[in-house]
Amino acid sequence: MIDVLQYDFMRYALVAGVLASIACGIIGTYVVTKRIVFISGGISHAAFGGIGLGYFLGVSPFLGAVVAGVFFAVVMGFFAKRMGQRDDTVIGVVWSFGMAMGILFVYMTPGYAPDLMSYLFGSILAVPVNELYLMLALDVVIVATVWLFYKEFFAVCFDEEFARVRGVKVDFVNVVLLCLIALTVVLLIRVVGIILVIAMLSIPAAIAGRLVHDMRRMMGVAVVVGCVFMVVGLGVSYALDLPSGATIILVSVLGFVFSGFCGKK
């Protein structure tokens, strides 16, 4: 089994898995405690529109995903509430709008149609080395922002109203958090794909939340749990010749169910 590490693609895949786990462990902790799993789902599907736009304009699809993800994060965090729309309605609209735009842009792009499946379901075994640097950069941005905003994020997740009374710019903090979710989604697209992003944002953090009751520790444990799922999932997908993204998710779901039996309540 260890001999698979002689392949560059396998080593890159493992590094990509670890880099993705760092982001999804930290941001996933917020997603789970703040109960915004489906807002995250909306952002990730909106990012697909950006991927299509990237192809259409001939720029990096990941750049497009970053721009679209952040754009819709701001829309959902800032304007939706002001327009008096229900959260879940806005999520549904953004979710499907992103997917529709992605498909239309790719359709309108002249020439060879890119492999949409790899964005929808991930292609961790095909991650090029320069993308690892991009992932590392995104991780640095995410960790640094969380470090700077830690107590504001914490307060807003626990009790928005109280934070507002204390003079915390709650709307701004929320938008920053949604933007970080957008960046995390982009990081995860290569690993598990847009459709499965929600699982990696919620499962490791949910398991960590059962094991520890401190937010910092929860983040740490979620990162480790995410890494374990990535490595095991990759190993299983290699050994059984299965699609890697889906296998990682299946391993995670099994871990989640198992933790429900043995973790403390």
Partner: protein, 258 residues
């Protein structure tokens, strides 16, 4: 008797949600060193009054002042204690983490907590007798303990007025009287406003009662079990919203529906 300092003043405050009027012409003054109980039926606007005082809801008309200034200027002088039952019990926070939230402020942005913050929080926990479980997870506490922790968080703001939303909901009598003893100690240093739908719960320790059901009916002193404090407070004229002094709370409740 020494004139008390006004903490919060509501003048002709009206709040509407869409077409429905929630508060009409509410006039209310909150003074330092007294406990004001706001009671009324569910949906009568009690929580809305609190949120107006906190600046979370802007009134459609009328004026609100906090220690003589606007809410925005002086909101940092308000300690807010929300309903303890509304929290996620699985949230990964210790008692200490929660109380430290009281030290947040716009000025703390991008800066860490310091020793002063930690000292204030330890004092706040001591005041509510909760230092012994400062490292417990918030979800592992009983309702009464969690309530005290939320009071400590509000005290960590070093407030001059404390606003409490349904502080004794679902608390048993022992927990409740312990809680009110803490409040009566606190009123030496600040104004206290509490909102409750349970009339009995507010009777003994509360100095003044306001009844709200869209409009505010003000009692200059509490009618039940209030003998020793009743004569201490005169009725400030501006506080009687509609000039109906109610002698018996029960009768007043019946009249509220109209």
């Amino acid at each position: 008797m020494m004139k008390k300092k006004m903490a919060i003043c509501l003048e002709d405050v009206c709040v509407r949600y869409g077409d429905a009027s929630v508060l009409e012409d509410v006039n209310l003054s909150v003074y330092e060193n007294e406990i004001l109980g706001i009671i009324g039926p569910n949906g009568g606007g009690k929580t809305t009054i609190l949120k107006v005082m906190l600046g979370l809801i802007a009134p459609d008309s009328g004026h609100v002042s906090v220690f003589g200034g606007s809410i925005a200027e002086n909101r940092h002088l308000i300690g807010y204690v929300p309903q303890h039952s509304s929290f996620d019990r699985q949230f990964p926070a210790s008692v200490w983490d929660v109380v430290m939230m009281g030290r947040l402020s716009a000025g703390k942005f991008l800066r860490g907590f310091d020793d002063v913050d930690r000292r204030v929080c330890a004092d706040a926990l001591g005041t509510v007798d909760a230092l012994s479980f400062r490292d417990k997870q918030i979800g592992d506490l009983s309702g009464g303990e969690r309530q005290r922790v939320l009071v400590a968080r509000a005290l960590a703001c070093e407030p001059r007025v404390l606003l409490l939303d349904e502080p004794t909901a679902s608390a048993d009598r022992t927990v409740e009287s312990k809680f009110y003893e803490i409040l009566s100690k606190l009123k030496e240093k600040m104004a206290v406003v509490l909102v409750s739908h349970d009339i009995g719960a507010v009777s003994v320790y509360v100095d003044k009662i306001a009844c709200v059901n869209q409009r505010l009916f003000y009692h200059d002193d509490k009618e039940i079990g209030a003998q020793e404090i009743a004569k201490t407070y005169r009725c400030p004229v501006e506080l009687i919203a509609h000039g109906v002094p109610h002698r018996v709370l029960k009768r007043h409740k019946g009249a509220l529906g109209k």
